[in-house]
Symmetry: C2
Subunit: 417 residues, 2 copies
């Protein structure tokens, strides 16, 4: 491996931030934030804007059968491109950066290369993928999943959204049902810039995160049924209180995460008691536990210990518990060399940087099984995302985009091997 | 004290149960249960029915300014009557027994005495009190509170109900705004028969409860504010999770009750997380804790230990907690000799009986400061009350009413002292 050096080229931060602001006008919410649900009229307008920019930059734009848009920039050689991108759909109350940053930073990299008259050895592609958020149509990461062959095209086209319309019909309606094939698109590498959507960078005073993978996720909903009764007249020894059992599970989840350590997180975000009255022992409690870890074995250990605890406490309290898996994804590991390269470029810039996992899912994880993949994170103010208050400063964006430029240039100029 | 003996007189269980069934027709709900909210048209019809029975039994009926109805049966002596009674208003989905049993058993006692030609030494009174439930107008136990001088008549007449109407206007409308004075009515004794509304008698295989008082009640609502964040991207050490703190409080409440013992109960009936999503650490949790004990010192100990714990866990987790007292009533102690008498009569009948506190509030507690007072409990099937499935069998009612008859006869024939 040759020694890594910074290329003198730098991105134009003002231009990038102007594009981010311009795209955020489409679907802008009163009071701030953006609503651009996948395949909505707003999504179409956003797509049209970005496709126009791709055209202006001389990219060869293709649209595939699930509506993914890829803008290709020729290299000296043909063959699979070095790819970057993300998504431009948002949740119903989203911000300007989630997804959009990665796509528009890719365009900024292309414009820099164009202006500097640089032709890379390998082609370079900037893509945006359909319905990453999953806010209108489940599952999320749909476009990249179909693109990389891990989701079935026809099944995804048939998916019905929260408003009763299908992906296929909505693609047709907005004019983004393309001809390009899906499922066997091969990239040489994939690198995605994204806001962290969490508090780690900010709280650890880091400027850039070199993302080494995506945490495995296990969501379980426990429905606990006991015996409703009067809070005053029911002695403690006669109680079968599902609310108490839910509380025990919540406390256990926290302790489990602490005991396992090594990046294990556990969250009880949802509790519902029925009937939920001050003076009535509930008859039912519904509680969710969200467990995540980069290490599948540790994640399984957490699941196992939790379910053993749940059985034990249910038996002690005389309640019944029904467990339902709401979601289960294994961890995704990015290419260590790619992640290392991101970290090295960041350090050559003197940006504070550490390797870290992503707590959220991203399009990049669909590429990880098929080509060397990594991601670059920049801080989210207050760790806030999927929220109209989502914010990342122009300086933070500039740093991330410069690391993206260096990484893409490096990958696109590598010897073919 | 003379040795206690059973009087040969017995109540007529069929007649009593027929009256209960007949009253339950008024405001009967489709599918079972009764809705006879205080001062509604249904309440008026129920009042008219009971007043008609009082007239038939030769009672001297008076109505006071808060709508309480007292039917007086003369004794050999004048002076304060030995009193029994309860209420005939119900919650919106109530049953046939709560309150009604005590009033109609009182009438049954009068009818037995009439038929046996017995004149007691002291007068006997059967009353029903306005708005015991508090379901339409707060506070509950309003009629008995005004009757015994612990609530202000004018303030209560001005109370606005859930439908925007006032107690005073509704009393006028249904024709139950009477002339009798309130606030200084003195009874010689007060004895109230009521369903337990809890599971203790059934679960302990007891037929009658001799009620020694009403538990003190302490309701606190804790509003816990932390920092909302992403469940995946927020390491455990950065969390300020109000849901976790709520769970700790819930578990502590249970342990506190176990440690204090001596009848201490603690219930978390209400938890609300915001935003209550599986993958979001909540920003806010609202939780209520219901503490009850017959012993004011122990109840204060429970409150104190809980609030110390809440402070400690809030500081550990870095959240703020706002505590709001929703209700606080000191325990009410009934007259030990009266309660003892109830137990003795039950045992002379060979009914299984124990002394026990009431977990719910009753009209009797308004009399307790002013005259020797007690209550008689009969079992509630499944501990269920304030529910259309409320049920107490005719045999159980017969036992309770016979104990009431004996106790009233005993009190009404006591030497004046």
């Amino acid at each position: 491996m040759t020694e890594l050096k910074l290329h003198p080229l730098r991105i134009n931060a003002d231009r990038l931030n102007q594009r981010i602001e311009q795209l955020a006008q489409i679907g802008a919410l009163q009071g701030g934030g953006v609503c651009r649900l996948a395949l909505s009229d707003e999504d179409r307008a956003g797509r049209d804007l970005v496709c126009g920019w791709m055209d202006e930059l001389g990219l060869d734009v293709s649209i595939d059968k699930i509506g993914n848009v890829v803008g290709l920039r020729r290299g000296e050689l043909s063959g699979p491109p070095v790819m970057t991108g993300s998504h431009i759909d948002t949740v119903a109350t989203g911000g300007p950066y989630d997804g959009n940053l990665g796509v528009l930073a890719g365009l900024e990299v292309v414009q820099c290369l164009n202006e500097a008259g640089i032709t890379t050895r390998h082609p370079l592609a900037v893509a945006f993928f359909t319905n990453e958020e999953g806010a209108r149509f489940a599952p999320d990461m749909m476009g990249s999943g179909v693109h990389q062959g891990s989701m079935d095209l026809d099944a995804m086209l048939a998916v019905t959204g929260i408003d009763g319309k299908t992906v296929g019909a909505e693609l047709d309606r907005i004019g983004y049902s393309g001809d390009a094939a899906t499922g066997d698109y091969r990239a040489r590498n994939y690198v995605e810039l994204h806001i962290e959507q969490g508090p780690v960078l900010e709280q650890c005073d880091l400027q850039v995160g070199a993302v080494n993978g995506v945490q495995g996720i296990s969501w379980t909903e426990f429905t606990i049924r006991g015996q409703s009764n009067h809070a005053g007249t029911t002695p403690m020894e006669f109680r079968h209180d599902p609310g108490y059992v839910a509380a025990r599970i919540s406390v256990k989840a926290r302790r489990l995460a602490g005991k396992i350590g090594q990046g294990q997180v556990a969250t009880v975000g949802q509790i519902k008691l029925n009937p939920n009255l001050v003076n009535v022992i509930p008859r039912e409690a519904i509680i969710t536990v969200d467990l995540r870890n980069m290490d599948e074995a540790l994640l399984q250990q957490a699941e196992h210990q939790l379910s053993r605890f749940v059985e034990q406490v249910a038996s002690e309290e005389g309640v019944t518990i029904n467990a339902r898996k709401l979601a289960r994804f294994e961890p995704v590991h990015f290419d260590p060399a790619m992640t290392q390269r991101v970290q090295q470029f960041a350090e050559l810039f003197d940006y504070s940087c550490q390797q870290m996992p992503s707590g959220a899912g991203h399009d990049a994880q669909m590429f990880a099984p098929n080509c060397p993949t990594t991601m670059i994170f920049v801080p989210s103010q207050g760790g806030i995302s999927h929220n109209i208050r989502e914010y990342t400063s122009p300086q933070q964006i500039e740093r991330g985009a410069n690391v993206l430029l260096q990484t893409l240039l490096y990958c696109a100029n590598q010897e073919q091997n």
